[in-house]
């Protein structure tokens, strides 16, 4: 850090130098004619707007309190989230056997299923209350351990409390030919969205 500049401009007194003479008192500001006019104008303006200084004070208090509450609420919404990337590559379409469900990507929240000529990615979130079902190969169904919801290989609910089928994530072919699952795109059968070509790959 450089030497702090001496704002007053006076030379720093050395121990041998005599004390610098006292500075004259700064002139007292008396409001000139323009100042009086300004005061009258402000008084009239705010008086007309608010009716009194108390009203100004209350308004200022209320607005600042409101601002602080809203500010606190906004503060509590985080702006930065650390989430895994929503687009995931899932291997080549030929690697998937017809009529089979692949568990490899279960931790990434999807199953890859090849069934009746199409490949699709089912979300691993049970549509009842959000637990993760398990694919039971021998019984040919997804079964949720929490409350027993059951889904067919297509993802359609057929038993238990689940109200609707499992959701599909968006799926497409990446440039290198691999399957690209996009978890930012959701397709729900009950809304007719499974007809959307972005929700399956024809093989």
């Amino acid at each position: 850090m450089s030497e702090p500049t001496n704002v007053t401009g006076t030379a720093p007194a050395a121990s041998s130098k005599p004390a610098p003479p006292p500075k004259p008192a700064p002139p007292v500001k008396t409001p000139g004619k323009a100042g009086t006019e300004r005061r009258i104008f402000l008084f009239a303006f705010f008086g007309a707007l608010f009716g009194s200084w108390i009203a100004v004070a209350w308004t200022a208090l209320t607005l600042s309190m409101l601002g602080m509450v809203l500010g606190t609420v906004r503060f509590l919404f985080p702006n930065v989230l650390s989430e895994p990337p929503s687009k995931v590559k899932a291997g080549f379409p030929d690697q998937y056997e017809e009529g089979k469900v692949v568990d490899r990507f279960k931790d990434q929240n999807f199953w890859v299923v090849r069934y009746q000529g199409i490949i699709y990615a089912l979300s691993t979130t049970c549509t009842h209350l959000g637990c993760t079902p398990n694919w039971l190969e021998r019984e040919e169904k997804f079964k949720c351990p929490c409350h027993g919801s059951g889904f067919k290989i297509t993802g359609v609910n057929f038993e238990g409390p689940a109200p609707r089928p499992l959701e599909r994530w968006g799926i497409s072919i990446a440039e290198d030919g691999q399957l690209l699952v996009d978890k930012s795109k959701k397709f729900q059968k009950e809304m007719g969205q499974w007809d959307n070509p972005e929700s399956y790959i024809k093989v």
Partner: protein, 257 residues
């Protein structure tokens, strides 16, 4: 001069205790009212106030459990870190390695017991008609205390960060996303938009505010830790003060209606 007299005439003693120990009613009042801890309690209580068949003492036991939870909770905070890396293991360490690690169990059992005693207390208040005017507001304050206690249980449940905790909070918080207007999967959420830009979506709804993320994760753990240890206990303490004040102002515990 006995040792006791000597101590009691010393400057140290007299600077702490300004009045001698109470010997008659007026004395008692002055000692109570000039002591910050004692003045929180009324000077005298009706005989029916300590009759168990009248009050069941459930309100008092609930308050006692709240104090137990606070003390055990603070002690647990010395050994628990609310991060993904440490939370689960710290609880195991508390159980297996820490001296008197049974404190963790005491904290958990105390929480269960407190919820039970709150319900019993509310039941007693209802049976004795102690919610009727002029005590209706205090009943309302009590209901808010009930909700806050349940919320304390909810936030505390996540902190061990085990399977039970994560899924219970996932399921519980999923209800928030189905709320009308403030939940992104609830009815009316699509109505709240400015020029086509939705105000309520998975990254900005009541569930997001609660979890601090779009799914239960590190943000949620920290958020629930702060809520559980600081924010909600402060709110509960405030409301307990109001609750007790109201009882005294309405004529004291177990008085005639």
């Amino acid at each position: 001069m006995s040792v006791g007299d000597y101590i009691r005439s010393s400057q140290v003693w007299k600077s702490i205790f300004r009045h001698p120990a109470p010997r008659d009613r007026r004395n008692r009042v002055v000692v109570m009212l000039t002591n910050v801890f004692l003045h929180l309690h009324p000077v005298s209580v009706r005989k029916s106030g300590i009759a168990l068949s009248y009050t069941w003492c459930m309100g008092g036991i609930t308050f006692f459990l709240f104090l137990v939870e606070t003390v055990t909770g603070v002690l647990l905070m010395f050994y628990y870190r609310p991060t993904l890396e440490h939370a689960y293991n710290d609880i195991l360490l508390l159980r297996d390695v820490a001296t008197l690690g049974v404190l963790r169990e005491l904290h958990r059992w105390g929480a269960h017991a407190m919820v039970i005693t709150i319900w019993l207390h509310m039941y007693r208040v209802f049976l004795t008609g102690s919610y009727k005017p002029p005590r209706e507001f205090n009943w309302g304050v009590g209901v808010i205390l009930l909700v806050l206690t349940l919320f304390l249980s909810f936030t505390g449940y996540l902190l061990p960060w085990d399977q039970l905790a994560i899924w219970a909070i996932t399921v519980g918080s999923n209800m928030a996303r189905a709320h009308p207007f403030v939940g992104h999967e609830g009815p009316g959420a699509s109505l709240l938009q400015i020029g086509g830009v939705p105000l309520i979506h998975s990254g900005a709804d009541a569930r997001f505010l609660l979890l601090g993320a779009r799914a239960v994760g590190e943000n949620t753990l920290l958020r629930f830790y702060v809520l559980h240890c600081v924010a909600v206990p402060l709110a509960v303490a405030l409301l307990i003060a109001v609750h007790f004040w109201r009882i005294r102002k309405d004529g004291g515990i177990s008085g005639p209606l």
